[in-house]
Symmetry: C2
Subunit: 391 residues, 2 copies
DNA sequence: TTGAAAGCGCTAACAC
DNA sequence: GTGTTAGCGCTTTCAA
C-alpha cells in the first residue's frame, strides 16, 4: 500500500487551506504568486497527486480516452495500429489524458461497449479506428453529442458522417510512389489494389491513376483489384505482368500485396538472369541509413529530381504480348504502410506518419473538450516514401 | 451528454432503498431472491451502471490494470506485444477490469509513471513486460507490496525477484523445433541466437542444446551469437554454413535472425540448383490450412513421428570444409515468435500462446487482488510449432 | 486573495 | 432483510 497524500496533507504542510491548494492547481491566476510557489513546492516535496476518482466525481471528467484494440497480429499491417496506439498514449499523456482499451467484434458490440464505458468509467472521448461506409458508431456518438475523433475519414457524405477526423492522404502516398517510379524512368506503371467500395482502397488507387493522367500516361488495363494478401498479390502481379501491358513497375495498396508482387518480380529476374531491385538472397542488406527518405521541410515526399529528365528507363523493353516477356528489365515494386515486413525484405513503401496522426487526434480532442461546442475539424497528413531496394 | 442513471433512480423505480440496490449488486446473498430479481430487472430496464469513480472512492479499487505499450512497430517482433495486449484487454474485461496504457523509456521513468499512476488513477495492478536482469521495476513494486504480474520470468535469483509471473517456455519451443528437424532427418542442426546474458536468449539456446545432447549429438561450433536483426542473421548463417560443420538446418532465436538465415539458404539453393523448403519466388503459396499445426490435446508440439525412424535426411551431404559446399541439400530454417513476417515468407516458427498468457496474467492478478496475502504463483506455457515451407 | 460548506455516487457500518 | 448515516477526496459555490 502506498501511503496516500491528500490535498489536506498538502494544505497542512503548507499552512494554507485545502482550497488554496486546489486553486494553485486548477486556477493559478487566483492565487498570490508567493503562495502559489510555496504550495507547489510542498506538493513536489510530498509527491502529491490529485486523486482522479475524487476529481472526476466533482468535475465529471475522467481524463480518459477510450480506443479499441484489434487482434492486430493477424495481418501484415497489424503493426500499424500498434504504432498509432503508442503515439496516442504518448500524446495523450502529454495532454494529461490516459488511454483506456477495449475490444469489440463489430460495430454493434462496440456501441454496446460505449454504453458500458460511458456508464462506468466515463471516458471523456473516444478515438475510432477503421472507419467504413455506413459506420454505425459515428452516427451513434454524433446523436448523443459525445466527443470523438476518427482516425480515418468518413467514407460517406451522409449527415451522420460529419465529425472530426484525422487521416493520412493515401492518394498522395500512391501519387508520390508513382512519381518516384516515373522519375526513375518507368512509363508502364501498374497498380495492385483492393476491390472498389472500400474508401481507403479507392483512395490509394486514385492517387496512382491521377498521377498517370497528369503525365499523359494511360492507366487502362494496368490495374488489378484483389483481396488483400501475399498470395493474391502474387497472382495479380503474375496476371498483370503477363497481360502484355509491358508493365515495369507496380504500386500496391498494401505491403502484403507488394510482397506477393515482389516474389513474382524476383522470379522473373532469376528466370531471365536480370537482377531486380532486390539483391540475390544472401547478399548483405544495405545500411539502415540509406533506407529512410531525408525529410527536409514540410514536403514529405522524396525529391526525385525534375520529372522532365527521367533517368535511363525501361521504356524500350521488348514485350512478348500475352506472356511474361523474357529479357525485360527489373520490375520495381512499391508497397504501402512501411510495415516491419517491408523493412525485412527491402521493400520500398509508403510510410504513414502515425505518431503525428495520433498527436493530431489528441489535439482535436482536447480542443473539443475545452470549448463548449465541439467544432468539427479535419487533419489530412502527407505520407512519405521509405526508399529501399525494391524501387 | 448521456443521461445519468444513478443508484437512487434504480431504488426509486424499484421501490426499495439505495442500499438494497447496492446489496443486490455487491452482496446478492443478503437480499431476498424476489427483491433481487426485481431490482436486477429494473437495473436492466434503466440501463444502470455503477459509476466507477464513486465506487472507487468508497472501495479504493479502480478495476484498472496498467501496462506499458512499447513503440513496437520498430522491430519484426513488434506484433507480439500487440497480440498479447489484445488478449489482455479481452481477458481483463471478462474479469471486470479495464486496461490502462502508459509509455516509458526505461525502468526509471517507468517507476516514475508507477508513482504518478498510483497517485492519480490508482490502478489495482500492473502487468510488466520485457523483464530483464536486475529489473528495478519488480523490486520497486515488491517493496511497496503492490500487486503485479510479469509476462516473463525474473531472470535472476535475487530476493527482489520473487513475484508472480507468466511466461512461455522458450527452451521447450526451440526443443520442439530441434526435435522436428531431427525427425525430418537432420543431424547437423545449428543455432542462431543472441549474445549470452539475456535470459530469454539463453533459454532458447538451452532448449536446442539440450535436445541435441539428449540425442547424443554434438553442439560444439554449431551455434552463433549475434545481435538481433535480419542482416546479422544472414551473416551468422553464412558464417555457420561455411564453417565446415555441414549444418543442414538452423534453429533461430527470432524471426528476424531466421529471415536472414532463410535468405542465405535460398542463395545456396539457387546457386546449386537445389530447392530449399522455400519455393521459387512466384510460385503460389500453400493454402493457409496447411500452415497451422493441428492441436490435439495438451501436447502443443506437433507430432512428427517417432524420432527413431527419420525420413530420408541430408546426413550424407558432401561438405567442402571452410566454404559453402555446393551440392548440399536444402537448409531448413525455423524462427521464433511466428510473426506476420514468418507467415508472409513461409517461415516455420515457434508460436507463443499469447492469448493464454494474457488470460493467465489476469487470472493470477484477480486471485491476488481477491485474497489478502497475494500468493506468488508461476505459469509456464508451452509454445507450439507453426509449420510452413522453410522446415 | 483565502476560508467554510456542500455534494458528486457509491458502499460499509450500524440500527431497525 | 431493509433503511439510515457517514464519508471517500476533490472542486465549486459563497462568504469573509
Amino acid at each position: 500500500m502506498a501511503e496516500k497524500v491528500t490535498i489536506m496533507d498538502v494544505a497542512r504542510a503548507a499552512g494554507v487551506s485545502r482550497q488554496t491548494v486546489s486553486n494553485t492547481l486548477n486556477s493559478p491566476q487566483v492565487v498570490r504568486e508567493e503562495t502559489r510557489r510555496h504550495v507547489l513546492e510542498v506538493i513536489q516535496r510530498l509527491g502529491y497527486r490529485a486523486n482522479q476518482a475524487a476529481r472526476q466525481m466533482r468535475t465529471g471528467r475522467s481524463r480518459l480516452i477510450a480506443i479499441r484494440i484489434d487482434p492486430g497480429g493477424d495481418g501484415i499491417s497489424g503493426s500499424v495500429l500498434d504504432t498509432f496506439l503508442h503515439g496516442l498514449t504518448e500524446s495523450a499523456a502529454r495532454a494529461g489524458y490516459r488511454i483506456l482499451l477495449y475490444t469489440a467484434a463489430d460495430d454493434r458490440s462496440e456501441i454496446a461497449t460505449f454504453e458500458d464505458l460511458l456508464g462506468s468509467y466515463e471516458p471523456d472521448a473516444f478515438v475510432l479506428t477503421a472507419t467504413h461506409h455506413d459506420d454505425l458508431r459515428t452516427s451513434w456518438l454524433l446523436e448523443r453529442r459525445l466527443p470523438f475523433v476518427a482516425f480515418g475519414r468518413p467514407w460517406s457524405d451522409l449527415p451522420g458522417a460529419r465529425h472530426s477526423w484525422v487521416d493520412v492522404d493515401g492518394a498522395a502516398g500512391t501519387a508520390a510512389a508513382t512519381r518516384h517510379l516515373l522519375a526513375a524512368g518507368h512509363r508502364r506503371i501498374g497498380f495492385l489494389g483492393w476491390p472498389p467500395g472500400s474508401g481507403v482502397g479507392d483512395d490509394r488507387r486514385a492517387g496512382w491513376a491521377r498521377t498517370l493522367a497528369e503525365h499523359g500516361l494511360p492507366a487502362d488495363g494496368l490495374s488489378r483489384a484483389v483481396e488483400d494478401g501475399v498470395e493474391s498479390g502474387a497472382r495479380a502481379a503474375r496476371d498483370l505482368l503477363a497481360a502484355g501491358g509491358e508493365v515495369t513497375a507496380l504500386v500496391c495498396a498494401s505491403d502484403s500485396l507488394a510482397l506477393g508482387a515482389l516474389n513474382v518480380a524476383d522470379a522473373l529476374a532469376s528466370e531471365t538472369g536480370h537482377l531486380t531491385g532486390r539483391p540475390a538472397p544472401g547478399t548483405p542488406l544495405p545500411t539502415t541509413a540509406s533506407e529512410t527518405t531525408p525529410q527536409t521541410g514540410p514536403e514529405t515526399t522524396p525529391q526525385t529530381g525534375p520529372e522532365t529528365t527521367p533517368q535511363t528507363g525501361p521504356e524500350t523493353a521488348s514485350g512478348m504480348p500475352g506472356a511474361v516477356s523474357p529479357g525485360r528489365r527489373p520490375v520495381a515494386v512499391i508497397g504501402f504502410d512501411d510495415t516491419p515486413v517491408a523493412r525485412a525484405v527491402g521493400l520500398t513503401s509508403v510510410r504513414q506518419p502515425l505518431g503525428e496522426a495520433a498527436a493530431a487526434c489528441v489535439a482535436l480532442l482536447t480542443r473539443a473538450l475545452g470549448s463548449a461546442g465541439p467544432p468539427v475539424e479535419h487533419v489530412l497528413l502527407e505520407p512519405s516514401l521509405t526508399l529501399r531496394r525494391s524501387a
